[in-house]
């Protein structure tokens, strides 16, 4: 009898031991707790200003109050339905802003400015700032996020932690740090020493001078027609390739080694290299440029389609990426841009971008 019981116990114990890893599974199969399909609709990845738009939607909740303060020039401190505090400043004159400054150089509530104004320097805005008209930020300030319906200027040494968007022009002073998105509906102008991640505007200017402006205007006329729909001949080169200076080349090139395009060359097609790409001064690429490593655009180069690199992109003075009619993207982990460069569309450095 003992042997039978012992045998049964052994079988039961073994069965129980084997069942142990199945217990969570049996429980989940019986009491379903996670049966919804995975969500596949993230925030719109193709809309760089989507965070600003979402904030603008939140402001819709208090639109009536904003309009009253705007009309009467009065101020109001209240809370959103979610409980978050906001402050509407009807007339951001020196007095009101000094009061803000004296409150400890930091503002915790969402700040809504109804009229044009200049913010004090060395402030820390822990919540979003909205300007219904033009706004000039003080130097060395820290913003969580800013939305301006008109022109927006950030003072030197400003840090933006999440996003900044102007529905008109955005001018960024020297040595700023733009984390997240910096977008403008029209022109986005960056000064030297600025670090950035994601930039988007109809026209992005990097430390632009008048001389570069006139040079770029002259180039504008050459940016015509891209034969997108006509498939071009593709050439695969299994070693390094160097296109001599001043040549006209048609077709796509895939190069397994390094690629060098000589000065003043004109390529009507896209270029891909598994190694480094160096495009010498004045070359025009009517296509995209893709590098698995580093990519360098010499002075005055012009690229019409996306510039993509898995390493570092260095863009020298006077380069133009995209055109007014055909905006495009520059994407790489690291992007270094020299003064006098214009990009139409997006410049996105997933690690860090820097304006020299």
């Amino acid at each position: 009898v003992n042997a039978t019981i012992a045998g049964l116990l052994l079988v039961l114990f073994t069965a129980g031991w084997l069942m142990l890893p199945l217990l969570p599974a049996l429980r989940e199969a019986h009491q379903k707790t996670d049966t919804q399909p995975l969500s596949i609709i993230p925030e719109d990845p193709f809309n760089p200003a989507c965070l600003a738009e979402r904030f603008a939607e939140r402001l819709g909740e208090i639109q009536a109050q904003i309009q009253v303060c705007q009309r009467q020039g009065s101020s109001l401190a209240e809370r959103f339905g979610s409980g978050e505090a906001y402050c509407i400043v009807g007339r951001p004159d020196e007095l009101a802003l000094r009061a803000l400054q004296s409150s400890g150089r930091s503002a915790d509530e969402v700040l809504i400015l109804c009229r044009s104004g200049r913010l004090p320097a060395h402030m820390h805005f822990r919540s979003e700032v909205y300007a219904a008209e033009a706004l000039i930020g003080g130097a060395s300030s820290v913003f969580r996020a800013i939305l301006a319906d008109e022109d927006l200027e950030l003072g030197a040494g400003t840090t933006v932690l999440r996003w900044v968007h102007s529905r008109s022009d955005l001018v960024v002073g020297r040595d700023c740090m733009l984390r997240g998105r910096a977008t403008a509906h029209a022109i986005l102008r960056l000064s030297s020493g600025t670090r950035f991640e994601r930039l988007h505007a109809r026209r992005v200017e990097f430390n632009f001078s008048d001389a570069a402006e006139s040079w770029a205007s002259a180039m504008e006329t050459s940016g015509q027609g891209i034969g997108r729909e006509s498939p071009k001949q593709r050439t695969v080169v299994r070693k390094d390739l160097s296109i001599p200076a001043g040549r006209f080349v048609e077709g796509d090139y895939v190069v397994y080694g390094d690629l060098r395009v000589g000065a003043g060359s004109h390529v009507r097609g896209s270029l891909k290299s598994h190694g480094d790409i160096y495009i010498e001064a004045g070359a025009i690429i009517e296509g995209s440029v893709v590098s698995a490593r580093n990519l360098e655009l010499g002075e005055g180069c012009e690229v019409r389609w996306p510039v993509i690199s898995e390493g570092r992109v260095t863009i020298h003075t006077g380069c133009r990426i995209g055109t007014e009619r055909h905006p495009t993207s520059v994407t790489a982990p690291e992007i270094v841009v020299a003064p006098g460069v214009v990009a139409f569309g997006t410049v996105w450095a997933s690690r860090e971008g820097y304006v020299a």
């Binding site: 599974a25 995975l38 596949i40 193709f46 809309n47 593709r234």
Partner: protein
């Protein structure tokens, strides 16, 4: 008897070596996804002059689902003037024709249907005929039961700015997860396949596989490699390797996600996996040697390509291994004894058997889906069913080669009901 004593352990060790290679591959992929550098070179292209695109949806008796797919495609965020939706009604005998025509009437100049009434059966044959109607350079492919996310078309198009890219594959996400245990297990399996395997291949510059749906292809690349192969059951695997062998890359976009309906009954699942196994093994026979010998492929592409081609062949090989292990043990052929033998068996039991499950767990972790991971151990059931079904398909394929039997297309049954 003595020759058997040499052959059996020899074969057994060869199978063990193969199994260990696949085990290492599983771990390599999973660890890469968990701790390695993640490659998404085309993800950040949000502004460009977008090309015109044709979306092809092959549909054979899809009255229950085709309406949903077309409605979702009409809502995608892509310039309408650049998007041509081309449902291919492939010899349907149900209401597929009417459902499509009804949507065409309600959405003028958006949907351009192709009603195919005769010709060779099968998706590849239907695609081949539909290609004559394509005017754009980029073609996006969907199955009729798929529901794309709004940004999907753009995400499947951005990699084509790279002139080396011939095809792009997106991620498939099961929609009917909660239907029953099978769908939940398939959800885990799909997550591992895409979230871990495909993205790891992309990270490591290996051979991401085109799945024939939620994918796109460059027409010039397709023409260069000879168009769709209608003599295969998995035109997607076949395309992946023909592109690879001709210097084109297939790219995986993990964020290009699309809902699909997974089989809700075991017989349907078994038929589906048998078709995949049959077609995949066809690709192994066709492309195995060229992958080894063709100039221009990197070593890592050759190794991964071969392992990818051999995935379904591993099921019967594993079964044979089990049988050989029993024979070797009971006939006393094996000399795997002592501490070393014990360590080898124990470490494989501890680590090797868990390799595929580790992938599933990692995928669940990356998807931040906390509770479904509890079903992990039940995947053993799916594994056993798959290994038997795939082995039967492989043996059937071998017999068909001897008898030069014509391949039969088997459409996956749908479970969703028409609205």
């Amino acid at each position: 008897m003595s020759s058997l004593a040499h052959i059996v352990p020899g074969l057994l060790y060869a199978i063990v070596a193969l199994t260990c290679i696949y085990m290492a591959r599983h771990y390599c992929f999973t660890l890469n996804r968990l701790f390695g550098f993640q490659r998404h070179p085309y993800l950040d292209i949000d502004t460009a002059t977008w090309p015109s695109v044709t979306v092809i949806i092959p549909a054979h008796n899809e009255e229950q689902v085709i309406g949903h797919a077309l409605a979702a495609l009409l809502e995608v965020k892509y310039p309408a003037e650049l998007l041509r939706i081309l449902p291919v009604n492939d010899r349907s005998t149900d209401r597929t024709h009417e459902v499509i025509d009804d949507l065409v009437l309600r959405n003028p100049n958006r949907i351009f249907p192709f009603h195919r009434t005769e010709g060779k059966p099968g998706k590849a044959a239907a695609l081949k005929e539909a290609m004559s109607l394509v005017k754009s350079e980029i073609v996006v492919l969907f199955d009729a039961d798929y529901i794309p996310a709004p940004q999907l078309i753009q995400q499947l198009v951005t990699p084509y700015f790279d002139p080396e890219v011939g095809a792009v594959m997106g991620r498939v996400v099961p929609l009917n997860v909660g239907a029953n245990l099978l769908t939940r297990l398939l959800d885990l399996e799909r997550a591992a396949g895409y979230q871990v395997d495909q993205q790891a291949r992309m990270n490591l510059k290996l051979v991401p596989q085109h799945g024939g749906t939620v994918g796109s292809v460059r027409m010039s690349a397709l023409r260069e490699v000879g168009g769709w192969n209608e003599n295969t059951l998995t035109e997607d695997t076949d395309l992946t390797f023909r592109l690879l062998l001709n210097g084109w890359k297939t790219v995986y976009q993990n964020r290009a996600e699309c809902y699909e309906e997974v089989p809700e009954t075991w017989p349907v699942r078994i038929r589906q996996i048998k078709r995949w196994a049959w077609g995949h093994n066809q690709a192994l026979l066709t492309h195995g040697l060229p992958v080894i010998s063709r100039r221009g492929l990197s070593l890592r592409e050759r190794v991964d390509g071969l392992l990818l081609l051999g995935v379904y062949a591993m099921s019967p090989i594993t079964l044979i291994g089990w049988i050989l292990a029993l024979v070797a043990f009971y006939m006393g052929f094996t000399n795997l004894q002592g501490t070393l033998g014990l360590l080898a068996v124990a470490s494989y039991a501890a680590v090797g058997n868990a390799a595929a499950f580790f992938e599933v767990a990692a995928a669940s972790h990356l998807d931040e889906s906390r509770n479904r991971i509890r079903l992990l151990s039940m995947n053993l059931l799916g594994f056993v069913v798959s290994i038997i079904a795939v082995s039967r398909a492989t043996i059937g394929h071998l017999f068909s080669l001897i008898r030069t039997q014509e391949l039969a297309w088997d459409k996956t049954e749908r479970f969703r009901r028409a609205p």
